[in-house]
């Protein structure tokens, strides 16, 4: 029960931070699932993709009402990326857990630098 409440709390927090700072949910969901719920890195990365779907669906639904979604480029980009996703899944499945964890850590540092860079430019 405590773990359930912790996961819900971390989920809300991850959503707020994603909306507030314009970062993807996955970069926050993966550490939430590994550090909060004790999932392995591979399970967390796979599960975060499923967890992203309701967040993205809610966001897209709201933006669609304002006429901000261009469906054609969205579908073209999304479909074009599927090959890359498949390649990524194959690579992730083949890598040792420790390597996958380190690669994700490096990605988090890159995203941190991007957030800091945007904040600096906004001045």
């Amino acid at each position: 029960m405590d773990v359930t409440l912790l996961a819900i709390g971390l989920g809300v927090l991850a959503g707020v931070l994603a909306g507030l700072f314009g970062v993807g949910g996955g970069i926050l969901f993966v550490p939430t699932l590994t550090l909060g719920l004790g999932l392995t890195q591979l399970h967390a990365e796979a599960t975060s993709l499923l967890a992203i779907i309701p967040t993205v669906a809610a966001g897209t639904w709201r933006q669609r009402r304002y006429g901000n979604v261009r469906w054609r480029p969205a579908i073209v980009i999304g479909l074009a990326a599927i090959g890359g996703v498949e390649a990524g899944v194959v690579v992730a499945e083949s890598l040792p857990e420790a390597v996958l964890e380190r690669l994700f850590g490096a990605l988090m540092i890159v995203v941190a630098a991007q957030v800091a860079w945007r904040a600096r430019r906004r001045g």
């Binding site: 996961a7 819900i8 989920g11 809300v12 927090l13 959503g15 707020v16 931070l17 994603a18 909306g19 507030l20 700072f21 314009g22 993807g24 949910g25 550490p31 550090l35 719920l37 999932l39 399970h43 796979a46 599960t47 993709l49 499923l50 967890a51 992203i52 779907i53 309701p54 967040t55 993205v56 669906a57 809610a58 966001g59 709201r62 933006q63 304002y66 979604v69 261009r70 480029p73 579908i75 980009i77 999304g78 479909l79 990326a81 599927i82 996703v85 498949e86 899944v89 964890e101 380190r102 850590g105 988090m108 540092i109 995203v111 941190a112 630098a113 957030v115 800091a116 904040a119 906004r122």
Partner: protein, 73 residues
């Protein structure tokens, strides 16, 4: 940004299906984190108009980098 959100949805769906075939998904954990996050994201987007100052963004960047370094070492 709205269009990229829709594209991310397609990518996430493709990844979910692929990982599902490999048996790596934990649907219960995804629902526990993903559904509250959807509500949180709506709140976060509304808060962005009032709060997203430079200092707050830099603090968030430090937090992300901190977790990243923890995973790296």
């Amino acid at each position: 940004m709205a269009t990229s959100l829709a594209a991310i949805g397609i990518i996430a769906l493709a990844g979910t299906v692929s990982y599902g075939f490999h048996g790596e998904l934990k649907p219960g954990a995804a629902a526990l984190v993903g559904l509250p996050a959807a509500a949180g994201a709506i709140a976060g987007t509304a808060l962005q108009q009032r709060l997203a100052g430079r200092t707050l963004s830099l603090l968030f960047a430090v937090m992300l980098a901190g977790v990243g370094i923890k995973l790296l070492v």
